[in-house]
């Protein structure tokens, strides 16, 4: 139970008044970001990251991770009240959440959503508390081949477990790797793919890419149909909260199942979005009232919210222990670690105990604070969407431009942000997944480094990744995941003529 002692030490860090303040600020900003179209967890944190340089890493990560929790909570508000999923993982919440609001049960739906989000996050944090140190301990023995194998596995998981076309996933990912390679090669000092342009020597900063891909593109696509928000009144009084809380324990089985699905999908980088859909699907299939789903069943809100929050939270486990983030937002936080001068990976648990355990402790506190804040302040947050879109859009554009500039104090980055915005807009409309692109852009350099170091050791022998039992089995799992879409593509084609 060494973890408990360390956790207590973490609480003493997180409970410092300054950190508590930042936690509150983070949660409120996060909910705001989650509610506003065009700002999400990933690009919201990307915009604010440069402002945290002056803070200590612990305070900075506490504030930014609280923005993440806030954004997870905020996504549910717009899904339920406005039928607009603020975040991709809250799409499944609209299925039953919006009908509930239409029936005048908005308060019940919101309470259920927030509470189950909290439960999902709590299960995931407990899991992180006890599993992360073990994984980190284990990962201390990793060499370059093992690290490359882990990254290979995470990228293969996108192809194998993604919901869209595996070819498009692969294309988005490879583009991310290429963009990461642009600029100075850290190992030889040579300039790569700059094509004689001095602006390209710095390479593409993924924060700028994230702001463009998720922020600008979102503004462009939300204007498409002439955005009008038509929402339902949000009012939560204590009576509704208590009544819903009394009812919720009846759905404990759904809660536990969804939390487990979420934790699993969060650690493997499938992410929160598939987790929410999957657990919604399971809940519908296993329910006696399965055909009533989509008409306003509270289970239809509990299942996706629990899973999404569990997945979003547990995405930090591989980020902290292996340096491989499980979601775009976790990737941005990872970028933050590097900027604050911390080396992500298992050594973090040995060398930066205060940082790691302060962060984990703040996850407990941040989620409790988040639950209270959203329950109390829902009407105010919902009122934001009544501000005309012309004002919101202009301000978000200005905020994005300032954010892109402050990353490197480079005016050219604002141009890049706009270009990434167009790319993101086109790719999103053609259903290319953006998460693998961002993750490849973040991890590209380190993946390449692990790859090249492995080859250096083996003197160019590619089988080096299969020499150790550990890297070998991780690689094998990755290859199996990569082959999965091919297998499923062949399978039904064989089966169909027989059935016809």
């Amino acid at each position: 139970m060494e973890e408990l002692g360390l956790l207590m030490q973490g609480f003493s860090v997180a409970l410092q008044p300054e950190n508590m303040m930042l936690m509150m600020v983070g949660i409120i900003l996060g909910v705001l970001i989650g509610v506003l179209p065009g700002l999400g967890g990933a690009n919201g944190i990307a915009i604010l990251l440069p402002l945290t340089f002056a803070m200590s890493p612990v305070s900075a990560v506490i504030m930014l991770s609280c923005i993440y929790w806030g954004a997870l909570f905020g996504g549910a508000i717009t899904s339920i009240l406005f039928n607009i999923p603020g975040e991709p993982w809250s799409v499944a919440t609209t299925f039953d959440g919006y009908p509930m609001a239409q029936q005048g049960r908005a308060g019940e739906a919101l309470t259920a959503a927030f509470t189950s989000s909290f439960v999902g996050a709590f299960v995931a944090v407990v899991m992180i508390t006890f599993v992360a140190p073990i994984v980190a301990q284990f990962a201390l023995r990793f060499g370059p081949p093992e690290f490359f194998a882990v990254m290979f596995l995470s990228f293969a998981a996108f192809v194998g477990m993604g919901r869209g076309s595996p070819v498009k996933t692969l294309m988005a990912m490879m583009l991310g790797f290429l963009l990461a390679a642009v600029g100075m090669d850290a190992m030889t000092g040579q300039l790569r793919m700059t094509f004689g342009q001095t602006e390209m020597i710095r390479g593409f900063d993924f924060l700028v890419a994230v702001i463009g891909l998720f922020g600008i593109s979102e503004i462009l696509s939300s204007i498409e149909d002439g955005l009008r928000f038509k929402g339902h009144k949000a009012k939560i009084d204590m009576k509704v909260v208590l009544r819903t809380w009394l009812e919720l324990p009846r759905h404990w089985a759904i809660g536990i199942r969804s939390a487990l699905v979420g934790c699993w999908m969060g650690i493997t980088p499938a992410g929160a979005t598939p987790a929410s859909f999957m657990s919604y699907g399971i809940a519908r299939r296993m329910s006696k009232h399965g055909k009533d789903f989509g008409k306003g069943r509270v289970e239809g809100v509990i299942a996706p919210e629990t899973a999404a929050h569990a997945a979003g939270t547990s995405a930090l486990l591989p980020m902290l222990t292996l340096g491989v983030p499980g979601s775009p937002t976790a990737a941005v936080l990872l970028g933050g670690l590097i900027m604050w001068g911390l080396q992500p990976g298992p050594m973090l648990f040995v060398e930066q105990k205060d940082f790691v355990w302060g962060l984990i402790a703040s996850m407990y506190l941040g989620n409790i604070a988040g639950l209270l804040i959203v329950l109390v302040a829902v009407p105010w947050f919902a009122a934001i969407l009544r501000v005309p879109f012309s004002i919101i859009a202009a301000i978000i554009l200005v905020v994005c431009a300032i954010g892109a500039f402050t990353v490197n104090n480079a005016e050219f980055d604002i141009v890049l942000m706009l270009i990434f915005g167009i790319i993101g807009y086109v790719l999103k409309k053609l259903e290319y997944p953006l998460a693998p692109l961002v993750l490849a852009l973040v991890l590209g350099d380190r993946t390449e480094e692990a790859f090249r170091q492995s080859l250096l050791v083996s003197e160019g022998d590619l089988t080096v990744f299969f020499h150790g039992w550990l890297s070998g089995s991780i690689m094998a799992a990755g290859i199996a995941l990569l082959a999965w879409p091919l297998l499923t593509a062949i399978w039904p084609r064989r089966a169909r003529p027989a059935a016809a």
Binding site: S390, I391, A394, E448
Partner: protein, 206 residues
């Protein structure tokens, strides 16, 4: 969410016969499939263009990596080693994405075009709406090096409010200036982050 409106084919629509008042069989409602396809850029065109762009990016990477050396140097893998294979994978994946599109095009060529309208990436009407946001944003980004970010932001907010939000100029302009002032206080004074400035700030002594 936004995709469901696009791409839906026009439903066959009941059309009244021209001599609607006349008695007899001619008055029966005839179902004439409406051929007025929604004008715009089709998903297929964009798919092909995007795949070609991806392939071009991959080809550029292969070319540049070959220039740097994509093999094995005296000190290990050369700089171009990793991007070379990534570029190759990208070209192959783009080709794999194009293949079904090309096959579908050939199939359509054979039955010389059915009545189905192609799925739309963006109708012209939507394109116009998107342009109302996109063009000012582009001008905004282009103007920042010359005017500084504060003046450009004030103009952008005022423009959006006046043109898209139909606010009166008397409300839009002060709002724009207020946004710029708030940004100035937050970044230059609180966070001590210097943002791009132009002639106006210089004139005011910053």
């Amino acid at each position: 969410m936004t995709m469901q409106h696009i791409g839906g084919r026009d439903m066959p629509r009941a059309v009244q016969a021209p001599d609607g008042a006349a008695a007899g069989a001619a008055t029966a409602e005839a179902f004439v499939p409406e051929r007025r396809a929604v004008a715009g850029v089709s998903v297929r065109t964009m798919e092909i263009a995007t795949s070609l762009c991806f392939a071009a990016a991959g080809a550029a990477a292969i070319w540049d990596s070959a220039r740097l050396g994509a093999g094995w140097g005296a000190d290990g893998p050369q700089s171009g080693y990793f991007p070379f294979w990534i570029g190759l994978l990208l070209v192959l994946a783009a080709a794999a994405n194009l293949l079904p599109l090309a096959r579908a095009a050939r199939a359509r060529g054979e039955d010389s075009g059915g009545p189905d309208a192609p799925a739309m990436f963006l109708t012209w009407e939507q394109a116009r709406t998107v342009a109302t946001v996109f063009i000012p944003t582009t001008i905004y980004v282009a103007a920042i090096p010359f005017t500084g970010i504060y003046v450009a932001s004030a103009v952008l907010v005022a423009w959006f409010m006046a043109r898209l939000g139909e606010f009166s100029v008397w409300r839009a302009v002060p709002s724009g200036i207020a946004t710029a002032l708030v940004a100035f206080v937050v970044f230059e004074i609180w966070f001590l982050v210097a943002l791009p400035k132009g002639p106006l700030e210089e004139f005011l002594g910053y």
